[in-house]
């Protein structure tokens, strides 16, 4: 049959599972995803809109909610570019060069990812807290780190530390160094090599890394909870504000702010899918082995 010749890998009966098995695998996978992923997401929006759009909107424009949103955006706007620069630098030296201790370096870069967020917050308290190593000096110089913006940024940077690098390192490793080497031999400067050769190859991975990093930065709870101080309207980020509203029996408002964060997550995913769809070939070429 012609269809078989067109789709050689999936088309042959011997290489396919029987229909019942296929359907039950699809069914099982979809049920699992629906129960674990979709339902919580739907619940957030149902609860948020439970008292109508007006109540939803009121909850979002309420003064403390607005300042929580502003603070969250500000923190992410500082933390994400920092980790972006770091991620590009780290993946350049790791992917393009061979050197001793590389795997140790990779492990150290990965470390914040598996360290409990609670510990990430706590280390900064131990360092900058009043009874910490630098605490007395900071007080003398009237510098506030924890329970203020710098502490929130530090904790967020820590938690989202590996995101861009993790996305880029495998990508750049796959691509090898031939193109860059050729460019150098042809007389391009380092910056030109990066901009003209490397960047076009990694841009989609980079963008996705940034998006994920941003979503995680805005949504971090455990680490910022330790260093925030929870001052209403001043050091409450959105996830902390959700918790506070929830604790004030203000469930609609809590879920309304939560739905913004969920929306952010969805936008991240949609942008990613759009990229994959639009630049599918390019992506596949760069993401494949």
């Amino acid at each position: 049959m012609p269809a078989e010749t067109i789709a050689p890998s999936g088309g042959r009966p011997a290489l396919r599972e029987p229909l019942w098995l296929r359907l039950s695998l699809i069914g099982g996978a979809l049920t699992f995803l629906a129960v674990f992923l979709l339902l919580p997401l739907i619940l957030v929006f149902v609860q948020a809109l439970g008292h109508g759009v007006e109540a939803y909107w009121d909850a979002l424009v309420e003064q403390d909610a607005v300042s929580a949103i502003q603070l969250t955006v500000l923190v992410a706007a500082i933390a994400v570019p920092l980790n972006l620069v770091f991620g590009v630098a780290a993946s350049w030296c790791i992917a393009k060069f061979e050197f001793r201790g590389k795997s140790l370096l990779i492990t150290l870069i990965d470390l914040p990812f598996s360290v409990s967020p609670v510990i990430s917050g706590m280390v900064y308290v131990l360092l900058f807290g009043l009874n910490g190593w630098l605490g007395p000096w900071l007080i003398d110089h009237n510098i506030k780190i924890i329970f203020a913006l710098p502490g929130l940024v530090l904790a967020t940077v820590f938690v989202t530390f590996p995101f861009v690098a993790r996305e880029l390192i495998p990508l750049m490793q796959e691509q090898g160094t031939e193109e860059e080497e050729a460019a150098v031999v042809l007389g391009a400067s380092g910056w030109q090599v990066f901009r003209r050769v490397t960047l076009p190859n990694i841009k989609w991975g980079l963008l996705y890394g940034v998006l994920l990093c941003n979503a995680r930065a805005m949504g971090e709870f455990g680490a910022v909870s330790v260093v925030s101080g929870h001052i209403r309207g001043m050091t409450n980020t959105m996830p902390l504000h959700v918790e506070i509203l929830y604790n004030e029996y203000n469930f609609v408002a809590a879920f309304a702010v939560a739905s913004l964060l969920a929306l952010l997550a969805l936008v991240t995913l949609v942008v990613k899918s759009l990229l994959e769809w639009r630049y599918g070939d390019e992506l596949a070429a760069s993401a494949r082995h």
Binding site: Q70, L71, V73, L74, A76, A77, I78, V80, P81, L84, V85, V88, A89, V125, F128, G129, L130, N131, G132, G135, I139, K144, I146, F147, W191, R195, L199, K203, L206, L207, V210, L211, N214, G229, H230, I231, R232, G233, M234, I244, Y246, N247, E248, Y249, F251
Partner: protein, 343 residues
């Protein structure tokens, strides 16, 4: 490097975020002349929203600057920990004296803090009551009913929640009374109660939500003010309050954080803030938010709100907070013995 990337235009998200952030920095609301930070425990949110407004107006009439009071709420222990670690609180209004003592021990507050204001520095009091479902289906009347098999008791974790420590000590005081100070019996009694506890939330609010919203448990051990508030918020058709035969006089204390107010130069207004809590207006606000006022005249006015309860204080029966904390809640203390893993 960043600019190169930005020029290529694929950091739209971050760029927009950055622009927003910069805009925010310049558009921060102009700070009032004086700002105070009141670091408080969980159930006082509504109280201090109202009180802060009243105080700001009062302070203006006294010829003071415009004053803006920021609030931070959380579990009492967590809040004390933040102040110890350098959260710039001018005022702490916590659930129990032990937490303020912990701050004083590390030098942020003078050790004599409790004697500086009348009535042990607690301008309002509360007590521990039972919140049960409407109609009291399990017939819970007193502490003994909590130890019965088949009754589910909701209380936060005494290790992290100030309110839960009051809960625990109220039960302990009752047991001592009942068994003539036989501590072994009291311990057994507490063990039975805690066997009936299916969830230990970290804070008082968490427990209230578990009980009211999640529908778990038959009885919630709760601050009296918290119980009133949840009835007000969630409907009198669902819940009712039971006052046990003997319970504890909970005295949430307040203090000025000396190190901070001296550094910020806010001592005068911070002290006025606490003193105003003892004024008629302050007492009235406390009573309206279901805290028992200290002022007899105001208390008389709200007599029909608060049930008459037979109360004991921690000082007369348990030898004060330091002793109680050490004996019950320190590592390896009686609470830990009750909660041996696997028991």
């Amino acid at each position: 490097m960043v600019f190169g990337l930005l020029r290529r235009g694929f950091l739209g998200v971050t760029l927009a975020a950055g622009a927003l952030g910069c805009g925010l920095l310049t558009s921060m609301p102009a700070a009032a002349d004086t700002t105070l930070l009141n670091v408080s425990y969980d159930p006082t949110r509504e109280l201090y929203v109202e009180y802060n407004k009243a105080f700001a107006e009062y302070w203006k009439t006294q010829g003071g600057d415009a004053v803006r009071i920021n609030q931070s709420h959380g579990g009492s222990g967590k809040q004390a920990r933040s102040v110890i670690d350098g959260l710039d609180a001018d005022i702490v209004t916590l659930a129990l004296a032990y937490d303020i003592d912990a701050i004083a021990e590390r030098g942020q507050i003078n050790k004599d803090w409790q004697a500086r204001l009348p009535q042990n520095s607690s301008p309002y009091t509360s007590t521990i009551v039972f919140l049960v479902r409407k109609g009291n289906p399990k017939g819970i009347k007193n502490w003994d009913d909590l130890a019965k098999p088949g009754v589910q008791v909701i209380t936060p974790n005494p290790k992290t929640s100030g309110g839960a420590r009051w809960n625990y000590l109220a039960a302990w005081g009752y047991a001592l009374e009942k068994w003539n100070n036989d501590e072994a019996k009291a311990k057994e009694f507490l063990e039975q109660i805690f066997k009936n506890v299916p969830v230990l939330d970290t804070g008082a609010r968490g427990s209230t939500i578990t009980f009211t919203e999640r529908g778990l448990g038959d009885v919630l051990l709760s601050w009296e003010n918290e119980a009133f508030l949840s009835i007000k918020e969630l409907g009198a058709d669902k819940l009712e309050i039971v006052v046990p035969s003997l319970t504890i006089l909970a005295e949430p204390p307040v203090a000025v954080v000396d190190k901070v107010v001296d550094r910020k130069g806010t001592r005068k207004v911070a002290e006025a803030y606490l003193n105003y809590l003892y004024s008629d207006a302050g007492q009235e606000i406390a009573a309206k938010n279901f805290y028992r006022p200290r002022n007899p005249a105001i208390a008389a006015k709200y007599e029909n709100v608060f049930t008459k309860a037979n109360l004991f204080t921690i000082d007369e029966r348990l030898g004060g907070w330091q002793a109680a904390q050490k004996k019950h809640f320190s590592d390896g203390g009686i609470f830990d013995q009750i909660y041996q893993p696997g028991k």
